[in-house]
Amino acid sequence: MHWLPLLGVAVVVIGFALRFNPVPVVVAAGVVSGLAAGKSVADILTLLGTSFVSERALLLFVLTLPAIGVLERAGLREHARNWISRLHGFTLARLLISYLAIRQVLCMMGLTDIEGHAQTVRPLLAPMAEAAAEKRGAPLAQEERNDVRAFCAATDNIGRFFGEDVFIALGAVLLIQGFYAQHGIELEPLQIALWALPTAICAFLIHGARSVLFARRINAMATPVEAASDPVEKQKLPDADQHG
């Protein structure tokens, strides 16, 4: 057993801890781990190149950006906000829970890529959630706005992860089945998918409850003083440097 390739893991951990830009950290980890395993530079380059281009599907979400951008230019986010703020009874908690339920059910049917951070969270869910939160009667402070957006992204992730495992025709279930088949254990996909259901239901209950608590916290933080503050201020985007 070879322990040296674990150096690559150390590079990742240290790089992330020191808040270097993650892209060079990750590439460096690959190079270190390859060198430690005794591979030649040419082999490492081949390995990096082929692994990178075989995973191109991960960037396809970028194709949504032109359409979403054009709609944003014409006020998509503003309209989503206006619309939700006119709908009575559509509270932040209800919005988050409905989104979670839809996301989980669609993923259980194998439709994982039709919603996502680029497709639905930025253009629709986040502005709707902000508008729903502002129904408390006071505009959101920048920090609260960030919290609401982050919670939307979290809700999308949880809905996706704990939905897709129940779908039998691709991804997780087939990977599990394939692994066991290689080791001489034959299983039906449905046998595996069924046992993902209890966790899926618990994920909905736990995150749903957390959504209610989160919405309550946002509601409780409304201070009437802020309502009078400059309305232009809230539209400013954070310009903090993200490059860590």
């Binding site: 190149g49 191109r56 960037l59 979403i68 944003e72 069924l194 860590g244």
Partner: protein, 322 residues
Amino acid sequence: MLTIEHAYWLLALFLAGAAWLNLRGRRGWHAAFWTVLAALFACGDFVLDAAKSHNEVPAQLAGIGVLALAVLAPRMHRGELREREEVMREADALRLRHKLFVPAILIPLVTMAVALFGSYAAFGGMRLFAQKQMTLTGLALACMVALIAALWVTRARPRAGLIEGRRLLDTLGWAALLPLTLAALGGVFAATGVGDAIAQLVRMAIPVNSALACIVAYGIGMVLFTVIMGNAFAAFPVLTAGIGLPLLIQLHGANPAILGALGMLTGYCGTLFTPMAANFNIVPVALLELPNQSDVIRAQWKTGAMLLILNLILMYFLVFRH
């Protein structure tokens, strides 16, 4: 026939367009970054085909491209990209109202239509969509349909698609690339035996005769490995071959179907904790313009931790039933 390669070429075209706009805007680092990435996307299939027939030069050039991206990434600072004024956006929003939702909804709807019915679509005896990665091919098609609809609804000029798309792409910046680089790292880790070393370490640390200790080691191992790799799919075969199969299934008689399903889900809890799962935890930070890298993780780790404990309990009580 539409295949996933067409989608990659389309994406390469968009990246090249974004590079061109950046070059004209005197943002050289951004221009170089998107140019290299566009080249990697356009030539990807050529690289893979060449590697299959043992010509490794294109793959090595692609590897150099990846190194170049790593060098360029830290130089991409988020600059000032002007968005249309809010007053004008607000005015358009009041005029166009729900019409604005139609193109946005078209993205999921067309993708879903292709995913569900794409296998039956044919024209003159030829299938319209290749079977391989049909949903993602559908997503690419849906994006084009939505773009045309968006231009039509908003009466914007076609080049607005490139300009606005590039604005969002530059907002993402290097974060867009992270999922791909991490996946490539996964490939390298798998080829250099990192996984086996970790499974070995875990086995050295636990008393193998205790079923509970094995369950906890398997579950925590799945989480830790997922946190390091950013992907439960990478962790599953390693940990199940290292701990699940020999100790839990063969030694303690665990039910493989239940163990597999719950083991994978335990790994998913780990995905909620880690910046390595960049497409879920870092990309949205950039897309939603949040100030800290860890904002999304902070919003979700409690749900993940509760589900992790719950999964370990479920595993302990379900897998040994007969």
